[in-house]
Symmetry: C2
Subunit: 321 residues, 2 copies
Amino acid sequence: MFSFEELVDQFADRFNRRHFPETLPSLYQPAEYFLGMGGKRIRPVMCLMGNELFDTIHPDTWQAAMAIELFHNFTLIHDDIMDRAPLRRGMQTVHEKFNEPTALLAGDVMMVTAYEYLSKVNAMHSPMLFAVFNKAAKEVCEGQQMDMDFEKRSEITLDEYMQMIVLKTSVLLAASAQMGAMLGGSGAGNQEHLYQFGKNLGIAFQIQDDYLDAFGDPAKFGKLPGGDIRANKKTFLTIRALEAATAAQRRELLRLLEGDTEDKVAKVLRIFADSGVETWAKSLKDKYLNLALKHLEDAAVVSSRKRPLEELALFLVRREY
Amino acid sequence: MFSFEELVDQFADRFNRRHFPETLPSLYQPAEYFLGMGGKRIRPVMCLMGNELFDTIHPDTWQAAMAIELFHNFTLIHDDIMDRAPLRRGMQTVHEKFNEPTALLAGDVMMVTAYEYLSKVNAMHSPMLFAVFNKAAKEVCEGQQMDMDFEKRSEITLDEYMQMIVLKTSVLLAASAQMGAMLGGSGAGNQEHLYQFGKNLGIAFQIQDDYLDAFGDPAKFGKLPGGDIRANKKTFLTIRALEAATAAQRRELLRLLEGDTEDKVAKVLRIFADSGVETWAKSLKDKYLNLALKHLEDAAVVSSRKRPLEELALFLVRREY
């Protein structure tokens, strides 16, 4: 069995190569450029670990892991267009460096390529595998649409935000874990535990993301805290603060978020502290982490095989960057 | 065996219904809106006919036909964004009626749904079927990129234009015919004949498209001729005219195409006539139609089964609208 770092390296060995032909560089160079930016490769490793929980890694699982990472990158390229984001991981986004039509098409062809890898999997597994993948793929699109819909609304309930996060972020992690389990030969019950493990971990992961943006140590996080606050982005923290704050704090918070004053971040963080949002976020994160770990515990395999997934879970929700 | 009209109706019976959930209307209503605009449904019918050439229509072929039509519609939604087209079939495009991010996502989710239909096909056929579909899907993206690349260049050779048209238009018709043949139980040799039938027919179809835009009867074609000329769009006709014209005609043609004068269309059509482009286009179209029909002829089935495909081919290249 391999650790997270070992699987990241093994995946990189297979993934870090050309995925597209040399012909038509106007389309394929932008696609390769984006893949070359790297990333944590969490989803494909989750898939590999889902397999290893039950058996040694099957060759098909590498194909599924590639498909998952390509699909994830396709969504990032298109999300960047929709969000008009100039940078990703400190580098120019595809529509910014090239142009928008090319970014759109590079995303499209990347999605087709994801399906190309997926369709190499043994036909015995393909109907179930496609069912899990397609469902997650549609839900990721739904999550992105909800996220955009929310931007136009002044207030969102915590339930609504949670539903959006599950679709936009969690289901692909969940499907990755399940697909790995499936290809590792696990039955339906254990597959469901793996799906729920990934789903709840995804929620905890997003809470940590929102938390770090507000309270992260700039030296470790790599960017100034408060980016979401400055952009008036809805997060677990702002939504909870609006729900938990006093009427006066609420008015102040709404005024601050909609404005763009020098002291915006400092003042919002003060309201977060005063309304107990920081403590709340930590305990909510722990709740979902524990839910995830409970599903892992309930999977019917010897506990020694669960170590790498446990470590990945703890890493994802305790990371400071 | 069924005629083109009968298969169009049978396909409509299955296709003209909701393809997306009622939830999240902000995403799915735009997708349904676009599908509701209709279309000739040539590609799915080509797939059905490819099957019927060899055997009665298999239930899987309906799934493949749905996948093909959804994929085609996904490409149209994204092409409209890239081309900044306000109208399609006389109705507002998705990005125009809703907004661009939603159009982008509606296209994405439509592509996933295409794969959802495709993955319902019996696992026995799925590896080959996915291989044919994925190859065509990537090539369609490549064709669109080439088309955009060409817009930035002042001159394109006929060979380059042909290569672009094959990718952007022909390969999906070709793959549709081949997929139908495959699901109808045909062997590799006959599948290849069907692929080549669809590919060459696609070229003839595009020549007719370009021809009608210049020489079509407005009463039948439904729009004023010369749309491509006014938009300075490269077509079989303009490219050929630039190659075949005298030096003086060539200078005049380039000047006219780049300009936007009142008499632009009339004067370009006159150069087309003087340089023999109209006759040339007709004979080029016949050449590819005959190539297509030759492949159909060479397919190893009794000729009575070939009648519907022959009729479809003649309809597509002789249509006046």
